[in-house]
Each structure stands twice: as C-alpha cells, then as structure tokens.
C-alpha cells in the first residue's frame, strides 16, 4: 500500500532557482539557506521515498486567468519545465507517476474534492525550487539526467481571490492521506507544502516581512495545526503580507500527516523580501 513517510513545509522563492543553476550555494548570502537543506537531504535519502507530492502554486506560467483552477492535480508520465517569462531553466523534465496520480484523482474526487485533472502540465519555480532543494537531479557520466523521485504536482490557487480556505486546504491533506493509503501498490510518499512565509511584493508595503508571525506559524504547525485552520486569508495578509497567504498550502502537507508526526528539522532565513522557512516532519 501507499504510505506517507514525511512532510516538509518550505518556501519557494524564485531567486533560489538561478542561484541553484549558477552554483551559488556557497555564496555568503545564499549559504545559510542551502546549508539548511544538507541534513534534510541526508534524512530523505534514509527515508528512500518513491514519490513527492508537491503542493504549490503556479505564477501565471502554465495557468492564466482565462481559466484558473482552484485545485489542479497532475496525472502525467512527465512534466515539462515551463518558461515563466525569463527563459526555460536548464533542468530535465520531471518524471511523473501517472498510475499513482490517477488513483489519487479517483480517490480525491470520490471524497468530494473536485479537482482539475491535468494530463499535460508544465511546472515552474513554485514546484521546482522545492525540488531543487530537497530532491536535486543528478547527471551521470553519459550526460543522462535523473531526478531521485517521481512527482505529483498539486496546484492551488493562492493568487486570485477568492481562494480556498485554510481549513479546506487542511482537509484536502487529510483526504490525500486516505487516498495515498488506499493505493494498492507500494509507494513511499513525501508531501511538500510550499510557498510563503511572510512577504509582500506589491504596493507601498513591498518588502514587508514579519518574523514573529512566521516563527509563531512554525510553532503552531508543529503543536496545534488545527488552530491554524481557523486563520482567515485577511489575517494572514494583514500580519504577514498579501503574498504570505501561500502559507495555506503548508496546511495541506500538515493535514496529510498523522497528528503524532514528529518534527525533525526547522530553519528560518530572511535575507531580502521573503521569510524563507523550512520545517520537516517524520511519521
């Protein structure tokens, strides 16, 4: 059967992508962020997952406001690297797990989460930055590139209001757990909840951050996630900046874990305009 072995909450700041591609992991400004993921990758290697379910949002690359799904799940054998408007990053296509995805679609829709199902879907920094940090691809001597896990992208509308509520996102995680566990084949699964933490990218309040809120959110995510499901979008935007509302996607990850999942890593770094958080849980 399918089994969720771990969950990770992490930010998906776009500038991490070029820093990764240009090998700037040891630059003084970037080192604290990249170093935080060294023990996370060692831990993940021991957990040996087969699949990463990545809860993320697209930023007007693959989905436009002509048609904008509230929840969209990938059900493809592979996912192309999307051009976000700055050129396509030099990354190999991401392998999917269509059979597993189809099962998740059936189960989630059966549990009344009426997702948009995507048999073709490009992925961009919301998905790719967390993968670069947790599951970086390797290139062998013959130049063949390989990602260490297969992926299932789960896209959430967190940019065009009305957004799904924090509670709805948490419940989606709970439904996802049931869906994973009812899979007849063997799959070890890690769920990544991405985005945030505090940031605002427009208006006079551009660059606003709130470390106190972010640390409180990390505390609560570990100790009392139920309480976080009562947060309104307005409260998050007011306290942590308009774009911080992405944090509701971390609740999908937390909802997919059992209440007694143990917190393993925690890190916070806020160099420029975004509180970059990291928290991991193990079942």
């Amino acid at each position: 059967m399918g089994r969720i072995v771990a969950g990770i909450g992490l930010s998906h700041v776009p500038s991490v992508g070029p820093a990764f591609d240009r090998g700037r992991q040891q630059d003084p400004a970037w080192k604290p962020l990249f170093d935080a993921y060294v023990p996370v990758r060692e831990w993940l290697a021991k957990l040996a997952p087969d699949v990463a379910i990545v809860v993320y949002n697209d930023h007007v690359a693959e989905f436009t406001f002509d048609q904008y799904p509230t929840f969209a799940l990938g059900a493809a054998e592979r996912y192309a690297i999307a051009d976000e408007g700055f050129g396509t990053r030099p990354l190999p296509e991401v392998p999917g797990d269509a059979e597993f995805s189809i099962h998740l679609c059936e189960q989630l829709i059966g549990q009344e989460f009426d997702l948009t199902v995507c048999q073709e879907m490009g992925v961009e920094h919301g998905f790719l930055v967390p993968m670069n940090l947790c599951f970086p691809h390797t290139v062998d001597r013959e130049g063949k590139a390989r990602w260490p896990v297969k992926s299932v992208p789960l896209q959430v509308n967190v940019i065009q209001h009305p957004l799904p509520t924090a509670r709805r996102c948490f419940k989606l995680g709970q439904a996802l757990r049931q869906a994973v566990e009812s899979f007849p084949g063997d799959r070890r699964v890690v769920v990544l909840g991405t985005g945030g933490m505090s940031h605002q990218l427009q208006g006079r309040r551009f660059g606003f951050m709130n470390e106190k809120f972010d640390q409180w959110f990390l505390d609560q995510l570990e100790a009392d996630p139920d309480a976080l499901t009562g947060l309104s979008h307005h409260k998050i935007m007011e306290e942590a900046g308009a774009e911080a509302v992405e944090l509701i996607m971390w609740l999908t990850m937390r909802g997919a874990l059992s209440p007694k999942a143990k917190r393993v890593h925690r890190h916070y770094y806020a160099p420029m305009t975004t509180g970059m958080g990291l928290i991991t849980f193990e079942e």
């Binding site: 007007v60 009305p162 309040r205 551009f206």
Partner: protein, 116 residues
C-alpha cells in the same frame, strides 16, 4: 478593492474584480512566457500592446514603466514580473519604485542584500 476583503493599507488584494479590470494587461504579460513573443515585444512594443487591445491609459502605464499604476490597473504581480524582465526591471527595482524609493535606498533596508 473587492467586496470580500476589508482594505489593508498600502496593499493590493488581487481579486476577481481587479483581475477583470486587468484582463488585457494580464493576457499580454502571460504571452511573454514564450521567447518568440518576448522578441516581438522587444522589437515593437507599440504593435505588441495594440495586438492585446490595451487602452491608451494602459499603454501609457507600460510606456512610463509605472509599476504602481499597473498594479492599480489590475496587473497581477506575477504577470508584472514578466513585463519587468522584458524591460530590464527586476522585482526589487519594481518594488523600490512602488515603495517610492531608489533601488539603492531600498537595498539599504534589507538585512542581506546580496541574496538577489
């Protein structure tokens, strides 16, 4: 400002009303996710804007690189990153303008300004 959310000072909340207002602008920006379209924009921005039926007021905001005005006109911030890139304006440069500061002034407000 939409009916769903009480205003937050100095903050734009991108809701369906704003999205509807910014339809033409956001469609144009979304097209910039293609190298051919980026080349077309750089070759002849006026023709490009006309193709997406921008109003004269919208065209003026683009011509003036008025990022604060574009947000108010309904451009989504992530759509704006694409027009920013096509016109040589990084997120932080656009942000400084929206704050009413120079880029250098803005950088001084950051704790580690090398992480760009």
């Amino acid at each position: 400002m939409g009916a769903m959310h009480a205003p937050i000072p100095d903050t734009s909340i991108f809701d369906l009303r704003l999205s509807r207002r910014g339809r033409r602008l956001n469609k144009m920006c979304a097209a910039l996710c293609s190298p051919t379209e980026r080349a077309a924009f750089k070759h002849d921005a006026e023709a490009f804007m006309a193709r997406f039926s921008l109003t004269e007021a919208e065209k003026n905001l683009i011509r003036k690189r008025d990022f604060k005005g574009l947000i108010e006109a309904g451009m989504n911030i992530y759509a704006m990153l694409k027009i920013g890139s096509a016109t040589g304006n990084s997120l932080y440069r656009m942000g400084a303008q929206m704050r009413g500061e120079s880029y250098e002034e803005f950088l001084k407000t950051r704790s580690i300004s090398g992480a760009v």
